[in-house]
Symmetry: C2
Subunit: 162 residues, 2 copies
DNA sequence: GTCCCTATACTCGGATAGCAAGTGTCCGAGTATAGGCGG
DNA sequence: CCGCCTATACTCGGACACTTGCTATCCGAGTATAGGGAC
């Protein structure tokens, strides 16, 4: 099992956008520069976030991406689902209905215990992600990052937007 | 994010082995036949389970696989880790240390909030998997599967082992 | 000085190659068994 | 009739192709802006 690298980038981008004033839009190229990641590939992730309604776009010159809702109303699950898709990680292919000792499909109305257990674990994972918002991450940054570095980041953003 | 198909097969195989008397070994080919899956590929998963110490092998004629411990002492997490590997799904590449506004590595002693949140969710997932054993699945089968079908499966195993 | 128009430069968006990991397969090494042989 | 030996057939184990999806990239469509010109 593996989560894509793009997910990490998307989460960091949302945190950066959440640290900015709500009406400021930052272009994908600048976000890529800020994290030193390939611009074209990061664009792919941002487009996925846009399709999912997590961020919204401002086209044209001086355009870019900004959060579509307040940072406190965007959960990590929203971002994960936007980038990774809604499909559950464990997929039951009903192999219990195959093989020599199987019986007719009418005997398999309930999902098998294996699938139920795996899905239960996945639900716990999703619940945990749903309980953390981008706003929480932004607030956490404020306590864990030194003031001078915060100022450094702010200055860089001001520089590229002017 | 995607869990391999082989994981589902491995879980079903462990459940079947857990339903058998402890000293009976079932060859990989028979397990593949029982679930109607490619024998050679299933063998790959069983080898992974063997390497992880979840099942043990009986070589030679009349050999096969059997559980290495009582079914109640094998958790779903054991099987998942054996097949999927121990690496966490989310990997932090520390992109916060990259880019124009980054500072020296000595300022990044704590993992970033994003990685901590993702890992916390993953821990919840693993905890849930740790709380379910192969024995639970076997017991659940006994209540959800009709007696005649259970007999059908037992007869098939007796048939292929004779 | 103010307003409007146009050309521009910058933005996002989807369509397009490359690569790693999962998927599927095969054949060789090793061993418990079955049968035959000798005592 | 019993014990031993050998050949066999079956098992697992690791090494070898193929396909899907993640990684990385590019160019085209569309728009807010900046500048220049007219009033």
């Amino acid at each position: 099992m593996k989560l894509s690298d793009g997910l990490e980038w998307a989460l960091h981008c949302c945190t950066v956008l959440g640290s900015l004033p709500p009406d400021v839009a930052l272009p994908a190229g600048r976000l890529a520069e800020f994290h030193a990641v390939p611009p074209a590939y990061l664009a792919k992730q941002l487009q996925a976030l846009s399709r999912a309604g997590v961020v919204e776009t401002a086209p044209g010159r001086r355009g870019g991406y900004r959060l579509a809702r307040p940072a406190t109303e965007i959960t990590l699950l929203d971002v994960v689902v936007a980038v990774e898709g809604e499909a559950p990680a464990f997929r039951c292919t009903e192999i219990r209905q195959q093989g020599p000792s199987a019986v007719g499909p009418e005997h398999y109305v309930e999902p098998c215990g294996i699938a139920r257990a795996m899905w239960r674990a996945e639900t716990a994972w999703r619940d945990e992600l749903r309980n953390v918002t981008i706003g929480d991450l932004v607030a956490e940054l404020d306590t864990s990052v030194s003031p001078e570095q915060q100022q450094r980041a702010v200055n860089w953003v001001i520089g590229v937007l002017s």
